[in-house]
């Protein structure tokens, strides 16, 4: 795999707060990334630095092997669509899209026109008069139609309604299949984008928490549902991420996977095995991180073991 972005020890210090805390990762070519984390985790700051819109306090960022700051060669290959993008007064969506077509070398006018229809974007209304959903659509269309080699979507879909959001996911997948490129989707609607993303990067309080493929992450945990006593038997010394009990039936989410023999045994014991939704995993990992920071296990997992660090794969 070829890395299009290499981040090393990136740190961003604002007055009084450490927004990004010494993170390092690589972004591979032609991959869809989920860039996840809670609000204020440092996602936007990181993406702003990758696109040279903001400045690192320390560490280095290389995009296509070069520093992106004031670098026309690098910047013209990237597109950063952010939630709440500001547009000049008096601009209509038509103006904004026209301007985008001037600067993104791979801009596809035809595709943009199709997207305008899909999202029912009024072209001649002033942007300041658009609804939140329509405003989001402007950014989404620019991000898709620019076909930039690296495209960042920083939650621009938050303003879209459910129908428009699923339309966005659909169009993104279709276009990605035809024109592979590197896409970073930042979101906290993790379940919605879970099927799209191939790799997951989670940051929490400015620190890198997870950096692995979505499949690896999913394989990290399993939920067993069935007779409570039977379920307890399978926990062994595995870490319990989540436990629910209703009468005699329990559902327990375990870190780690079951071996073949164990899986067969579980099936024989009438336990149902189900994958853990990505969202739940990310939430658990973030909470774990939080409780680790606060120094006390307040997340109700009595069997919590040593804190997990990013990339420390745990397979059995």
């Amino acid at each position: 795999m070829t890395a299009v972005i290499e981040v090393e020890h990136l740190t961003k210090q604002y007055k009084g707060t450490l927004a990004v805390d010494d993170i390092s990762f690589r972004i591979e070519e032609n991959t869809i990334y989920g860039f996840l984390g809670r609000n204020g985790a440092g996602k936007t700051t990181t993406m702003s630095i990758l696109t040279a819109q903001n400045f690192a306090t320390a560490g280095s960022v290389r995009v296509f092997g070069e520093a992106p700051y004031e670098n026309r060669r690098v910047l013209s290959r990237m597109c950063f669509v952010r939630e709440g993008q500001k547009y000049p007064d008096d601009f209509t969506p038509a103006h904004a899209l026209k301007a985008a077509s001037l600067f993104f070398p791979h801009w596809d006018e035809e595709y943009a026109a199709a997207l305008i229809e899909d999202f029912r974007l009024p072209l001649k209304t002033r942007i300041s008069k658009l609804s939140r959903g329509q405003l989001s659509a402007v950014g989404v269309i620019i991000g898709l139609a620019s076909r930039a080699e690296v495209t960042f979507f920083d939650e621009p879909y938050l303003g879209l309604d459910a129908v428009a959001r699923s339309l966005f996911y659909e169009r993104l997948m279709e276009d990605y299949a035809e024109h592979p490129r590197t896409i970073l989707l930042s979101s906290h609607l993790i379940d919605e984008i879970a099927d799209l993303i191939e790799r997951v990067i989670v940051i929490d309080e400015g620190k890198l928490l997870v950096d692995r493929t979505a499949d690896e992450l999913r394989g990290e945990a399993v939920t067993l549902t069935g007779d409570a006593d039977q379920v307890e038997r399978f926990i062994g010394d595995r870490e319990v991420l989540h436990r629910e009990r209703l009468g005699n039936v329990a559902a327990v989410t375990l870190l780690g996977s079951l071996g073949q023999a164990e899986a067969a045994e579980a099936a024989a014991a009438g336990l149902e095995r189900s994958p853990v939704p990505l969202q739940q995993l990310v939430v658990r990992l973030s909470r774990q991180n939080e409780s680790r920071r606060s120094g006390a296990g307040q997340n109700g997992t009595p069997r919590s073991r040593a804190p997990r660090t990013a990339g420390a794969g745990e397979s059995s």
Partner: protein, 273 residues
Amino acid sequence: MSTTGTLTSADFTTPGRRAHTPNPSRTHMDSTPGRSAPAAQPPSTLSRVLNVVRVQYVNTYIFVWVPLMVLGGSLVISLAIYAMIGADEPMYGGGGQAPLWYFLVAGIQAMTLTFPFSQALSLTRREFFLGTMLAAALSAAGMALVYVLLGLLEQATDGYGIHGYVTYLPWVWESGWASAAVLVFALVMFFFVIGFWFATLYRQFGTVVLTTLLIGLAVLLVAAAFVITRMEAWGDVVSWVAQLGPFGAAGVIGATTVVLGIGSLLSLRRATP
């Protein structure tokens, strides 16, 4: 995509107008499925800078209509006053300055309204700066032309028939229409750059720092005036300016503008959208 011509609303009305034109990059990529978009030849800095000018002129109010309206308004008011006075000898007034001061505002707007969007278009800050300055220079040239034409009109009609002069000021026209044009151009750029720089500083440092800076600047100017007054040197200052002539003044203002421009580019390089 063409890099010249102006943006008109006609460009936007028919989004599907190119539906039958196959996109070359698309056909190319269709033939190599599974490959990523090839690294296109990066567009030249010049074409990107010219496109910034086009983006700045999407909103023609800032650079065209508002300065003309301000000039028109101050012309009407000046003439009304001249008509009321009704003197027999030529009357000169400062109404013609008004549109020049407006360019402080134009500089602020060109920065605050367009800079965040320019970053979303993946422009470098230098490209945005050069394009915006070029846009202002076009407007400044237009203003210079309008001033010269009005000045010629005033000369031809003996001050609109009432001996009232707004743009034809003897000292400005000392070396003919060219000196008036150059001086107007320099003043427009001077005010524009100041507005642009202040807006950049405001974005970067906020209200307190900018206000402090402005107060500091005012104190410096007052101190200079005080020193000149104490030294009873106003006569020297006036004669120095008179000696400078319009070309010399334009040169001094132009050089100052270049220095201010360099300062504002350096500030912009640290600005975040």
